[in-house]
Symmetry: C2
Subunit: 207 residues, 2 copies
């Protein structure tokens, strides 16, 4: 199939969203944990997290201009702290469910556990095995579509010894870290699972 700029712009909105979200390749998947100024925790799934540099140790996160993303973004700007937590196969449904509109903390809503490491001022996910704590460094506003790029400095890493090679390489397969495809695809143990649009009332269904 060959699409050009004209046919891409004329695609059905949901078809285009699935296609363009999948076409750049496999995605990292992380649960992003923050605290609001009142100390209430927030947890949101992000597939637009990427390596920025090793010295200083930096990661980038892109925030879409939607209410869920903006809640995480404003918490980061208010507190300066956030966490990234890898997703394991046994809690992909809960991870996907964080994207629903919750009136309570997503931790409580989906049934994941807040964990605090030292005096780091953002919640980690206890069920994750690879956990990263970051502080806000820099942000950029993308004019073309209103998204915001945040650069965070990596200040905490918790990782099981048995997935860490002698030269620092992380075996993400042994770690059972889940990869993302598109908007709703989860890739792990050589299989792809997709989930329905997340609503707070009912857990996501496999589609």
């Amino acid at each position: 199939m060959l699409f050009d700029s004209n046919s891409i712009s004329k695609l059905d909105r949901f078809y285009r969203s699935n296609l363009i979200n999948s076409i750049t390749g496999f995605k990292s998947l992380n649960l992003l944990g923050t605290l609001d100024p009142k100390g209430i925790s927030n947890l949101a799934i992000f597939s637009q997290v990427f390596h920025v540099g090793a010295d200083p140790a930096l990661a980038g996160i892109l925030f879409r201009p939607n209410p869920g993303s903006l809640h995480s973004l404003s918490n980061i700007e208010n507190t300066g702290f956030f966490t990234l937590n890898h997703i394991l196969p046994e809690f992909i449904s809960k991870a996907h469910w964080t994207s629903a509109k919750w009136e309570i903390s997503e931790f409580e809503g989906v049934g994941l556990t807040e964990e605090y490491i030292g005096d780091f001022k953002a919640p980690f996910v206890k069920e994750s095995e690879i956990k990263i704590g970051l502080t806000f460094e820099e942000k950029h506003h993308l004019k073309i579509n209103g998204t915001t790029l945040v650069i965070g400095r990596i200040n905490v890493i918790q990782i099981p010894d048995n997935v860490l090679s002698g030269d620092g390489f992380v075996n993400l397969q042994s770690a059972k870290s889940v990869a993302g495809i598109g908007l709703d695809g989860y890739f792990f143990e050589n299989q792809i699972t997709r989930f329905s649009y997340a609503k707070a009332e009912t857990p996501p269904k496999v589609i």
Copy 2:
């Protein structure tokens, strides 16, 4: 293992590079094709490509401040055109080898084939099955470490019909698209292969 900001900053340089490059999760892998002002082709492997938006259709690419990346970046700024091409298991060694310092076009050096689609002014990789053509839209300079973020608009997509679902979702496993881990890890068909640092004189060795 628990690392804090102090222990991260004291890590051996190569260990930290492997750790921080792997820790954010699986990466997309793409070969980025450009033409220089004289029409000589350039091909470079990139693991920092990510989804930015579906309408308009956008992807982001982060360029490290090293000579290889800057060559691709200056070609994009001069011509306005570039391509992203997924990597298949049968040519991961050639894909990795593009990162060596070549005096000739990397296409010729590693043995991949330039392909042109319509009047699009950048080379695609004939051996890739998923190919994306983009035009330059916007760039941002990251102050903290001198990297450059480029946003490109997706104008061409070529994709095999059999990996495209009815709703636009791309089955990257059926497409045999390779995912990246860290600086030198390639994940496909449930196995990880790592390659030695790329030099033009000899093909990369599996490590």
